[in-house]
């Protein structure tokens, strides 16, 4: 495997991000998703039966991954060391910045797939449903920290600006141009 793919975090940042794997990211994200489900239940209606499926999300440039069951107010997110291979209905693998771009709708999932920036396996129907639900959710960084009003706008501006810079810095695909 090549040392560094286009759009992946540079080695130094990966090393710096490694301790994040030990933080209680899972419980924090579980709370954030459940809070979001209470605010925008229609997003989870869109998922229908697929809300019960498990999605393993693997940032290819980090040593940990997330296992998510997006079941509305009963949603669950676990953060795991990469080695702890967990069976899941769907596995999605891509550089972290690409995954975040898909989450906030900056990047187009099909374009990322055509360009091989993401790889997927498992139940394609569940993944398509999740992709479409996320697309409509209009998620912003503030949704993840539960910030609203002026603070929410500040969080969004800073994180989105930071992500834009990071994408340029790492050469991550923008709008899906061929990588």
């Amino acid at each position: 495997m090549a040392e560094h793919f286009r759009g992946e975090l540079p080695r130094l940042l990966r090393i710096l991000a490694a301790p994040a794997g030990f933080l209680p990211l899972g419980p924090a994200l579980t709370l954030a998703v459940r809070r979001f489900a209470r605010r925008k239940p229609t997003v989870f209606d869109r998922l229908g039966e697929y809300g019960k499926c498990s999605f393993l999300i693997e940032p290819s440039d980090l040593d940990f991954s997330f296992l998510m069951v997006p079941d509305g107010v009963r949603s669950e997110v676990k953060c795991m060391r990469r080695r702890a291979t967990q069976p899941a209905d769907v596995t999605v693998r891509a550089p972290l910045l690409v995954l975040l771009g898909l989450l906030d709708g900056t990047l187009d999932g099909d374009a990322m797939f055509f360009n091989r920036a993401i790889s997927v396996s498992g139940r394609t129907d569940a993944l398509v449903a999740l992709r479409n639900a996320i697309e409509d959710a209009e998620l912003t960084p503030a949704d993840f920290v539960g910030a609203t009003g002026g603070l929410g706008k500040l969080v969004d501006r800073s994180v989105i600006g930071g992500l834009g810079l990071a994408r340029r810095f790492t050469g991550s695909p923008i709008h899906g141009e061929p990588s």
């Binding site: 869109r46 398509v128 639900a133 697309e135 709008h175």
Partner: protein, 329 residues
């Protein structure tokens, strides 16, 4: 008169993105088998449609509701409900293909403007006159098997508007008549609203790259770094005569931006962008780029470099002007 840009929306947020990016009209469908993009998690509930139409109208854009699959014999309820819900939402037109649905709309919803879907594959003055005279159809979406010259000739012989696809995924077969997906999965865009349904699609990775399987049939294999396409049978690679090749069609996207001026000259009313299954990122970029291209041609300016600007969004990383410039062998 300037060309109307008809843009795709698979979700309410994509509808807002399309309108904000400059769409003159947005087309979308309900979340069931009545529309030909019946993918999991996609499309609109009746309430979302009402809200979508309200948003579009507030911004000066129209909403065209696609109810363009073929109704099941003896069980037309979903299609009847879709027509009623489209009218209730205040849709500017419905896009239909099936004779029974057209008849029901003409009889029970006389105020709904009727457009004929590409799925009806009406490509002759006689067929179009039949739909116009019998059901009052006002616009026909052109099958993607015609050249610009053929559309110009057709326009001279009919008295309804025409709409032509200008960008996006391509069906190389005549729409509404392709049975490849039915053959492999038992489901098709014509009846269930989805070609190569995702529940039948599986990707697996091994040392040689990624294999795409459709209901157990391996339809393609991509090496690492090789551009991928949609998992439809028509874009699969098969062995025939001892050679492996894209037997039906390469994974390419339609891009007829260089023909916008020719389309206007051929008497086409509206240009359609494919991609209701695509995300907001795609919708925003493609609509904004094409709106600039249409406005530039309108103002007598030069062509916008659409091909280069949208290169990263296209299937297989390649673009074609499709049949519009094709000389058939």
């Amino acid at each position: 008169m300037s060309l109307e840009l008809v843009c795709p929306a698979g979700t309410p947020s994509a509808l807002r993105a399309a309108v904000e990016a400059g769409a003159h009209s947005v087309y979308c469908g309900f979340r069931d088998e009545t529309n030909a993009r019946n993918f999991p998690g996609l499309n609109f509930s009746p309430d979302e449609m009402i809200e979508g139409v309200r948003f579009a109208h507030a911004h000066g854009a129209k909403v065209l509701v696609a109810i363009n699959t073929f109704a099941k014999a003896g069980s037309m309820e979903a299609w009847k409900a879709a027509l009623a819900n489209a009218e209730k939402a205040g849709a500017d037109a419905v896009i239909l293909a099936d004779l029974a649905v057209l008849d029901h709309a003409a009889t029970h919803h006389p105020n709904l403007r009727l457009h004929l879907s590409v799925q009806a594959a009406a490509a002759t003055p006689e067929a179009i006159a039949f739909y116009a005279d019998t059901f009052g159809v006002k616009r026909v979406v052109m099958p993607r098997v015609l050249s610009v010259e053929e559309i110009a000739k057709l326009n001279a012989a009919i008295n309804v508007e025409t709409e032509a696809f200008v960008f996006g995924g391509l069906c190389p077969m005549t729409e509404g008549r392709c049975s490849l997906s039915s053959y492999a999965t038992g489901k098709s865009p014509n009846l269930t609203g989805v070609c190569s349904p995702p529940e039948h699609v599986a990707y697996s990775e091994d040392r040689n790259g990624t294999a795409t399987r459709l209901n157990g049939f391996t339809i393609d294999r991509f090496g690492a770094g090789e551009q991928a396409g949609y998992p439809t049978l028509c874009k699969g690679r098969f062995v025939a005569g001892g050679k492996t090749s894209y037997l039906f069609e390469d994974p390419v996207s339609l891009n007829a931006a260089s023909l916008i001026a020719a389309f206007a000259k051929a008497g086409i009313t509206a240009l359609k962008i494919e991609g209701r299954q695509r995300g907001k990122g795609y919708v925003t970029e493609v609509v904004r780029t094409f709106r600039a291209a249409v406005d530039a041609i309108d103002a007598g300016g030069t062509e916008v470099e659409v091909g280069r600007l949208l290169a990263g969004l296209v299937e297989g990383g390649r673009q074609t002007s499709g049949a519009y410039k094709k000389t058939w062998r």
